[in-house]
Symmetry: C2
Subunit: 381 residues, 2 copies
């Protein structure tokens, strides 16, 4: 074999950890830029560098010798990315695409300009802007950090006029306001795109959130009309193409009474696609690698009629060393994925995937396995 | 999470490489003792030590800090293993089980004593012993190295009396003689066993050899009667129990006109089980880890009616960097596994797995993908 290509991934969390796992059969070893030596990917990858994702010198060192650099998060500042690109580093996705996953206000503006459906929104500079928006759209409204929010952070439900903006909670980021969408369901659709333009889509999934955190994903979305599923796929493919995304693009959608609305974009493997590791012929992690290397994309067809992924969130005294054997014994057909993290209440410690033909049964298995991992008991909080 | 358990694997080849891949979702990082820094597993694992598997000092250093030590090959001398065990190292399987995978004559004797079916065999000390055996069983006979043979090495077809024994080809190993079995098919069955006694079996598979090297595995074995399949499974479970195997046991079988005969034993993940990575709910690599950690075993049920694994052997000028994109484009539904090795003619460089419902179609996909990887062309030599 000629020297293998080197894919560098900025960020050492569970997405990089699972991408390394997918890199092995492709003859690759992921090069990881982790912030800490005990980050999930840093514990398992062979080629790990330590450094901060906003440190240009660290990124420059890291990128040297990488054939392509990609990302497990959105935390590299746009200016830093642009400098790297100017210096010849191949970043996939590029800074000009990634900005629409980093800056939610820029995303709203761009998608609106393309005529794509987003919730009504407005820029906010002072508290009066919120009230003005609510005068048109009604209370409550949703305030969102422009950059840096995730897993429910950087999102505030607002019932009435404010004295001050909460933006200080997310340093360096402004906020914007958006209508509160009366939800039917939350959906996500993932597609992959390579530089040569080839694209593939996984089936649309339903995501279940609790306190702003995804707790469960059902693939394919069980209550979705074929028409809306096709709309969602078209929407995601169009976004990938218009924004020139390379790699995996996850489009989080609201299924609202009036139709689909885009919520967020992520240009990397995403929690809504973890089901694909066992559940699809080609997982999102393998596909992301194939896409950023401009290799032919794989077949995203699901391997079972129903696949359910449940996140394992830390409980008050989760001890995975104790609970893992309990979960393995209790659900021997469920696949377990642990991220190598210290347990803390509410922290995503791993996920489980169940497959089968009946959504009620499969969902029960996944929930039970996740509850056993968290508490060693079956109770599902 | 409490400090994760540390599983050490002696040997850094593709079996360790794929075991590391399976360790990641279980929250583990495999510790690998590799002979060379560019061994397949050494290229991808985080925790790699270099050392020879017959060097007691290297093994002792390596084992320190491992909760359990297991093996990707049979090359650790029995006396070295016994010393490690005496010093408190937990080896799974233990030296007293592993010897029956290392010493084929000991295996034949032990299985015969248990009343299990093996080909007629005899110890050989001098050429006359071969002729005496042939007088009873007819020419040709098969001479086999007692230790160290693999992939067709250490096996000699002999048509008539010999002047000298070929044992010198396998240093330190004697030879024994065995009847040439008129084959119907070659089969393999894999089971896993944990110290507490729990066992699980994957379906019996058919293996296809060329020049003594496995080139293809079809799971489940397509031409096997249910009765013989049940016999094979019972046989493997009985061997695992009688020999006190811990981990995965692969039993290679001849399906001969008179019934099943045991050919070889391997007490580790085995080429005949690579199909289980995508094709079974629990792969042999994950199951081996669960077994050696005495964790509950997983469900070995296949995920498709037919799964075919084809090995990718190096051709005269195989260049995987060139051929991988060709294979990915040509067979987008086939899973590719590369082992990170330099290409050499005849060397196992990787394998591919195809899944579906029709054995002819699935086999054709697997063969085509393997041929594309070897040569960049469809021809299947």
């Amino acid at each position: 074999m000629s020297d293998p290509l080197v894919v560098g991934m900025v960020g050492g969390g569970q997405l990089a950890r699972m991408t390394h796992q997918a890199a092995i059969p492709l003859g690759l070893s992921l090069r990881v830029l982790a912030e800490r030596a005990d980050d999930g990917a840093a514990l398992v990858a062979h080629d790990v560098e330590l450094g901060s994702p906003d440190d240009l010198a660290a990124l420059t060192r890291f990128a040297k010798g990488c054939d392509v650099v990609t990302f497990d998060h959105e935390h590299v500042p746009t200016a830093v990315l642009q400098t790297l690109e100017h210096d010849g580093v191949v970043t996939r996705p590029s800074s000009s695409a990634l900005v629409f996953a980093q800056d939610k206000l820029a995303q709203r503006r761009r998608l609106s300009a393309l005529g794509l459906p987003v919730p009504a929104y407005a820029e906010v500079r002072e508290p009066a802007d919120v009230a003005a928006f609510a005068a048109d759209h009604g209370w409550p409204v949703v305030l969102k950090a422009v950059r840096g929010g995730y897993d429910g952070r950087g999102v505030w439900m607002v019932d009435g006029p404010l004295d001050a903006l909460p933006g200080a909670a997310v340093p360096g980021s402004g906020v914007y306001v958006e209508q509160r969408v009366p939800l039917v369901h939350e959906l996500a659709v993932q597609v992959a795109r390579r530089p040569s333009g080839e694209m593939r889509a996984w089936p649309v999934v339903e995501t279940v959130q609790r306190n702003g955190i995804c707790v469960e994903v059902v693939a394919p979305a069980p209550r979705l009309s074929p028409g809306l599923a096709a709309d969602a796929e078209r929407l995601a493919l169009r976004i990938a193409e218009e924004l020139d995304v390379v790699g995996v693009l996850a489009v989080e959608l609201f299924e609202a009474p009036g139709g689909l609305l885009v919520n967020e974009l992520a240009m990397r493997p995403h929690n809504s696609g973890h089901w694909s590791i066992e559940g699809a012929r080609t997982s999102q992690f393998e596909q992301h690698l194939r896409a950023v290397l401009d290799w032919p994309l794989g077949d995203p067809t699901p391997l079972a009629p129903v696949i359910v992924m449940a996140n394992v969130l830390g409980g008050d005294d989760t001890d995975l060393a104790r609970t893992l054997p309990i979960a393995l014994a209790g659900e021997p057909s469920v696949s377990v994925h642990l991220y190598g993290k210290q347990a803390r209440p509410g922290r995503k410690l791993g996920h489980v995937t169940a497959m089968g033909s009946d959504v009620v049964t499969v969902r029960a298995s996944a929930r039970r396995a996740a509850a056993l991992l968290r508490d060693g008991r079956e109770e599902d909080a």
